[in-house]
Symmetry: C2
Subunit: 395 residues, 2 copies
């Protein structure tokens, strides 16, 4: 007596989450130090000490009814104002509290955006490879995900394919840069081209197409790349953000949506998202942690920690003969499977206690994703296992 949608979902549940559970089981069996679990994007660096101190300060300083009570569905006004000011200073935007809606993480944010703009049958374009859950989020509103091919050398989007796939049903494009799962960054030039294509297609079809920027990895950039904020490339950009990675708080479910004043129907979007936040059952982002992040907007987790992992893993695997896309951001390494069937490669890896996620989970078979948000030890100790895996394939 379960719903048809869930019946179907049970058959093809998240490969990433399944691997997470499998990893826990292997860790229990072989000892955590003997399992090289690259499956889940669970931060490996602790939340900044200031964040934890702030939580304690807030409990001491704040009236309990205020700290744990209901507020507007969009979140505390002072919290939203603090986020707006922080973004304005960093990115030259012109937000006020009114443009911000605090959300239950980026996943909550994407769902309230989708609920607000999508009708059944609408299409949302994504650039493959992409975070597989987008498909479920769109399905929540009976909308379809349309995937655009990547350039298989650079993993930048194929813009000709993008342009060809925009139809009268296209309601939005999701851009995720720095990218999960490839680690690539879409450069300003690319973003300008994407903006120009969207402008042209909006005019052609006579309706708005929103660019949804999903930016949980905004602050995780390496090699001199700069943090970017996409509203400057295209007027109809809605930003979804999460503090999960930048402050290492994925379990706390805290993020926000920013709707620029200049976006079409921005007032309706904002009001619609407030309603969606309530009616989808989020009601509001968790209260104490809202106040905590507002005081820690200048804080950042230790990006150098990930950078070190990135270099070691990329260099290690490249030396072993694996073909890897050099990551510029986020904490994922995208590796070409030595055989076309990357699921066989993933299963072979398990024999050496290497947990990787198949590329088909991201709409891009033939590759695997390694989440290098693990300890330095795990990186170091995994390399001999990867060496054995390379041997299997004669690399």
């Amino acid at each position: 007596m379960i719903s048809k949608k869930i019946e179907k979902a049970l058959q093809g549940s998240s490969a990433i989450r399944a691997m997470f559970v499998e990893g826990k089981e292997m860790a229990a069996k072989f000892g955590a130090e003997n399992v090289y679990d690259f499956s889940l994007g669970n931060p490996a660096t602790p939340a900044p000490a200031a964040l934890n101190q702030t939580v304690k300060d807030l409990v001491d300083e704040t009236d309990s009814l205020e700290l744990h009570g209901y507020m507007e569905n969009a979140g505390y006004t002072d919290v939203r104002a603090a986020v707006a000011e922080n973004l304005n200073r960093r990115f030259g935007t012109k937000f006020t509290a009114h443009n911000l809606i605090m959300t239950v993480g980026a996943a909550g944010g994407l769902n309230i955006i989708f609920k607000t703009i999508l009708d059944p049958g609408d299409e949302v374009i994504v650039f493959a490879p992409f975070f597989g859950e987008y498909r479920q989020y769109a399905a929540n509103f009976d909308a379809e995900i349309v995937a655009v091919n990547p350039d298989l050398e650079t993993f930048q989007p194929d813009l000709a394919d993008f342009e060809a796939k925009i139809t009268a049903k296209t309601k939005a494009l999701i851009v995720n840069t720095p990218n999960n799962p490839t680690g690539v960054i879409y450069k300003p030039k690319t973003m300008e081209q994407i903006g120009a294509i969207l402008e042209k297609k909006q005019a052609e079809f006579g309706h708005d197409i929103y660019l949804i920027s999903d930016e949980p990895y905004r602050e995780l950039v390496y090699d001199g790349n700069r943090e970017d904020f996409l509203t400057k490339y295209y007027k109809n950009t809605i930003v979804g953000y999460s503090f999960s990675k930048s402050l290492s708080l994925p379990g706390e479910r805290i993020g926000y949506v920013a709707v620029p004043q200049e976006a079409s129907d921005s007032e309706l979007l904002i009001q619609g998202m407030e309603i969606s936040n309530r009616t989808l059952g989020f009601v509001n982002a968790p209260s104490l942690i809202q106040k905590a992040v507002a005081r820690c907007l200048e804080e950042k987790t230790d990006v150098n920690f990930y950078d070190e992992n990135r270099k070691k893993l990329y260099e290690g695997l490249t030396k072993l003969g694996f073909t890897c896309i050099k990551p510029e951001g986020a904490f994922y390494l995208w590796v070409k499977s030595p055989v076309a069937d990357e699921e066989a490669f993933v299963n072979e890896g398990k024999k050496f206690r290497l947990l990787m996620v198949k590329g088909s989970a991201f709409g891009c078979p033939g590759f695997v994703r390694l989440a290098y948000c693990v300890s330095h030890e795990t990186i170091k100790n995994s390399l001999p296992a990867f060496a054995k895996l390379a041997e299997v394939y004669g690399l």
Copy 2:
């Protein structure tokens, strides 16, 4: 360019939330002490001191990656085990961690239950008057709410009407006792009758009908009424709970769903709800506060505080000539409007800075709801305003 559903929702948004905003505006204008805001179910008693101390202890004692990190979508295993043990001891149930899913409040819980069991066109029965948001939650899955008439003297459900309204499309019944908005409690005898009707109708239609017990007010009972747990009345009962009222944490969004092993398809329900928790965008209940409530399951907010308000308001209004249903639980007083059009009555009240919510927001015109989760002062100071309101109607 917003969705059709949201366009419609913007026209008929939450009367309760609108009143919340109006109350804030009136408080800014006249001073909070001069506005008698009975509109929102926002607890008036602080979270137990032990809860706040626990939050600080957890930050001091717990590894940050564990405290703020991802866990299974159902929540931390130790937290779920603690909740299961607590329920078993109090209510003689036989839960393990496996039967519990930690949720983003009761609203999150109801949505994952609905997503898991409802197909488009399905019907969910509720007893009027009822929490208006149920309608939106059902609409998220294109299901319909079917309201059963109350007995207008006792506000117990009309069981003949209930039985008549069960159809082949009925997938679930929501029971909310102690009830929002009436404050009544459905007695064991009533629950037994409801269980018997459901059993009979399941047999008649040849499919399962789930009883969804929405119990955020479980611990708020007065006059010697006892806390109840509905799984004992009917096998196919799913419980949704929130710590919002019992621990005064509404802003933190923390609750759980309990699925008894004996419910039909319990394994599929549990797995489906884990998936729903993830794909609806909740991912998991907020992590720190999960651990905090698990250590405070024996704690309870000051129920006597509400009881005092309940008595004073009920007695005060009854003496003034208003017809009130005597509340046995929760923190709401359900008052008969002196005129058929209760919206006119609500507007008249505003002239005396009395904020009440119209009964039609709960599917029951002709009545208003007063949320007496306010300060003792507000109760005391509101009575002269109610006296003036009574005068208007010649009571």
